[in-house]
């Protein structure tokens, strides 16, 4: 049987050791510690919430970038996965009475993965703008299902409010709001973010990741190297969907109320926006993009009624000047440039 599903390869202890000595890993560790300590040190609930919000979307943007940045597919339907993650959590809590956070997150990832497989299977054959619009249309159909409350699970456009999940049998949900969101849940999101980074870092440097890049760079050649490209595009959709679904699930608890708006195409647009703003050509770009987008919106909203204009202008300028490099890539290029000049003189 040549049809093999992805295998979990053979990482040796030695490789792990090499990994641990990596300089970037050290940087990541420092950042992790800083983020972990932030709420406790500042006691600033607003910032904590903002960070939680940013981290959820950073996960989503990272997940999205598997499809756009690595496989070269522009999906305009990722709201479907984000929304599925969110709805899975509420529905499982409200209808099935499941309250354990870990179970909920796993369920959400699985559900999003299934939706990703369905949308992916229908769309991987198409290209470019057709792919974008097909994924958009299919996601929009999911939006209609939720908004129309087909199946009687979603309560239509009113959406569903949700209570807080427990953690491994500990009734954390009974803790007061500031302890739950600031103390506990914030750290859950933080851990998920870093786990996502680690897993993706590994996966995208594996033969699997290389295969996705092959498809992005030259489909004809990839196929002529014996790669079943449709199947790998599908894999990348499913993987991406699962991670975006995780982001949605985490986020559902942060907002506390799930509506079909999260399945709408404008939501997909936001995810695309974030990934591109940060730079899809870079691994960490999407994280920067999510932060940039959310902070920009918050600031623009605060200072002007014409915040649409402000965001539009920023988007326009960033896209035109930096393109796939985005903010992060642009900054890196600038640093390189400066170094070069210093070396020259």
């Amino acid at each position: 049987m040549s049809t093999r599903l992805p295998t979990f390869g053979d990482m040796k202890a030695q490789e792990l050791k090499g990994l641990l000595l990596d300089k970037r890993l050290l940087g990541g560790g420092v950042l992790f510690a800083a983020l972990a300590l932030y709420p406790g040190l500042t006691m600033n609930a607003y910032h904590t919430r903002l960070l939680a919000w940013i981290m959820c979307f950073a996960i989503a943007a990272l997940g999205f970038n598997i499809v756009l940045g690595y496989t070269g597919l522009l999906s305009f339907g990722h709201a479907a996965f984000f929304g599925t993650g969110m709805y899975t959590v509420v529905i499982a809590m409200e209808s099935a009475g499941i309250t354990d956070l870990i179970v909920l997150l796993v369920l959400a990832m699985l559900a999003a993965g299934v939706v990703g497989a369905v949308i992916g299977a229908l769309s991987v054959k198409t290209h470019e703008i057709y792919f974008a619009l097909l994924t958009l249309a299919l996601a929009q159909l999911l939006y209609v299902l939720a908004a129309r409350d087909v199946g009687g699970l979603t309560r239509g456009t009113d959406g569903i409010g949700l209570s807080r999940p427990d953690f491994l049998g500990i009734p954390i949900s009974e803790a007061p709001a500031h302890i739950y969101l600031m103390g506990f849940y914030y750290h859950v999101i933080l851990v998920c973010l870093f786990a996502t980074i680690a897993v993706l870092w590994l996966v995208l440097r594996s033969p699997f990741g290389l295969t996705l890049k092959m498809i992005r760079e030259n489909e004809t050649r990839a196929e002529m190297s014996g790669v079943p490209i449709l199947r790998y595009r599908l894999y990348s959709m499913v993987l991406s969907a699962m991670i975006v679904g995780l982001a949605g699930a985490l986020y559902a608890v942060v907002v506390g109320h799930v509506t079909p708006e999260y399945l709408d195409w404008t939501m997909s647009g936001e995810i695309v926006f974030m990934a591109l703003l940060g730079g899809i050509g870079t691994f960490l770009g999407p994280i920067i993009g999510a932060s940039g987008f959310i902070i920009l919106q918050e600031v623009a909203l605060g200072v002007t009624t014409y915040w649409h204009f402000t965001m539009g202008l920023v988007l326009f300028v960033v896209v035109l000047t930096l393109r796939e490099k985005g903010i992060w890539g642009g900054a890196k290029a600038l640093v390189d440039d400066l170094n070069e000049r210093r070396d020259d003189s």
């Binding site: 609930a45 009113d158 409010g161 907002v255 506390g256 109320h257 708006e261 909203l301 915040w307």
Partner: protein, 416 residues
């Protein structure tokens, strides 16, 4: 418990020096911005008026420190609530147009122990989904009032057997349709809803709906479309001969004067306009001085008559003034946020439709309907409403603590 001690003092100490700072949440962009704009106008006018008299209880001025655009979505709104709670530089949050947003933001504000005066959305689920919100009050009537009011109107109509409903495709529209249908069934009206239509919010072309409705020739058309949507729908309906094909229409979206103004002479006459609250410029215009002042001042200032967005805002500021007064008179001190919201529970104040009564944290508005007529004294050359029908709040709102849908399912027919 909080308000039990009555200090009964005339001396009030501890009124903070700085103004009472309010942040408003309304649509400044997107399709519902029309509603937000009206609310904003009214709020500017009312704040000026209150401050001219020295402020709340004549002592503390109001300052609108910021307006947040609802179009930014719940994520952003919730974060902003958090920020305000955190920074402690804002005394109260006020506003919200969308029901969906109210359902997301109100619990978050409550969580943050941040007082929130909800002025516009009608979803009956606000307090039913989230009981025990001590920091949230709503001065807007529940949409039950409009829907059940409409049921009562149907009971009085002769020869109504078939009904078509058309409502915007989101919480507001679906809630109305469901309550209306359930209510009709409960009162045993001999009518059938033959079709329910849900165009999208912000739809621009209703001609397919119009011709389908005209074709079906129902006896009654029921709609909770509002804002620009109802204007477009009615105008295209007139064009498609729809109002000749249906006998009666009940248009209960929160719209009022702006609709009549935009349609001018082409407003069909066989419609009832209205819904929750008596928010029509010429309704009890002469009987109620406060109302007359409100309308005149608004007209003078903005060269147009107030619509429902403006009235909702007015009710909000009334409640705030009343609440502060009451709290101060009870505790003899400027109230904390919690005390202020508590003080706004169970109060009543003047409004165009008489007493506007809060059942707990939730206003119970009456339902008022009228028919377009040119016979009015206001200085505009388009029709306003006349032949008003008034249905008391108690008849169109569930008793306190009763779940709305259960109550609607058990409506009794009006006898006589």
């Amino acid at each position: 418990a909080l308000l039990q001690e009555d200090f009964g003092t005339d001396e009030i100490d501890g009124i903070p020096d700085e103004p009472f700072r309010i942040v408003q949440m309304i649509f400044e962009s997107g399709p519902p911005a029309f509603y937000g704009e009206e609310a904003m106008n009214a709020s500017d006018m009312l704040v000026d008026r209150i401050n001219d008299e020295g402020g709340l209880i004549g002592e503390r001025e109001i300052e609108i420190v910021d307006r947040l655009d609802e179009d930014a979505g719940p994520d952003s709104l919730i974060s902003d609530v958090q920020a305000m709670a955190q920074e402690g530089e804002v005394d109260m949050l006020m506003g919200i147009v969308s029901s969906a947003h109210s359902l997301a933001v109100a619990p978050a504000a409550n969580d943050q122990q941040f007082p929130f005066l909800v002025t516009m959305p009608g979803t009956y689920q606000l307090f039913e989904e989230n009981p025990d919100m001590e920091y949230v009050v709503r001065t807007a009537g529940s949409n039950a009032a409009g829907a059940v009011g409409a049921v009562r109107m149907v009971e009085q109509m002769d020869d109504v057997e078939t009904v078509i409903t058309i409502d915007p495709d989101y919480a507001w529209g679906h809630d109305h349709q469901e309550m209306f249908e359930a209510g009709l069934e409960a009162v045993g009206a001999d009518v059938e809803i033959v079709e329910s239509r849900y165009p999208e919010l912000g739809e621009t072309d209703y001609s397919a709906h119009v011709s389908a409705i005209a074709d079906a020739e129902p006896d009654l058309l029921f709609s909770s479309l509002w804002g620009g949507d109802i204007a477009t729908f009615v105008s295209q309906g007139v064009d498609g001969g729809m109002f000749e094909a249906v006998d009666q229409s009940l248009l209960i979206g929160d719209t009022g004067a702006p609709l009549l103004s935009s349609l001018g002479g082409s407003m069909p006459e066989n419609v009832w306009l209205g819904g929750r609250g008596g928010y029509q410029p010429n309704y009890r215009y002469d009987e109620d001085e406060a109302h007359r002042e409100f309308v005149d001042e608004y007209y003078e200032r903005y060269d147009q008559l107030p619509g429902w967005g403006a009235y909702h805002e007015w009710m909000g500021f009334q409640a705030l003034q009343e609440g502060v007064e009451r709290a101060v008179s009870i505790i003899g001190d400027w109230p904390t946020g919690e005390q202020l919201t508590a003080a706004m529970n169970n109060i009543a104040f003047e409004s165009p439709h008489g007493q506007h009564t809060m059942y707990g944290p939730q206003a119970a508005a009456p339902a008022v309907f009228g028919r377009p007529t040119d016979d009015h004294d206001l200085p505009v050359d388009h029709p306003l409403l006349g032949e008003f029908e008034f249905i008391e709040a108690a008849e169109v709102n569930p008793p306190e603590d009763d779940p709305t849908m259960d109550w609607v399912d058990e409506l009794e027919p009006v006898t006589g």
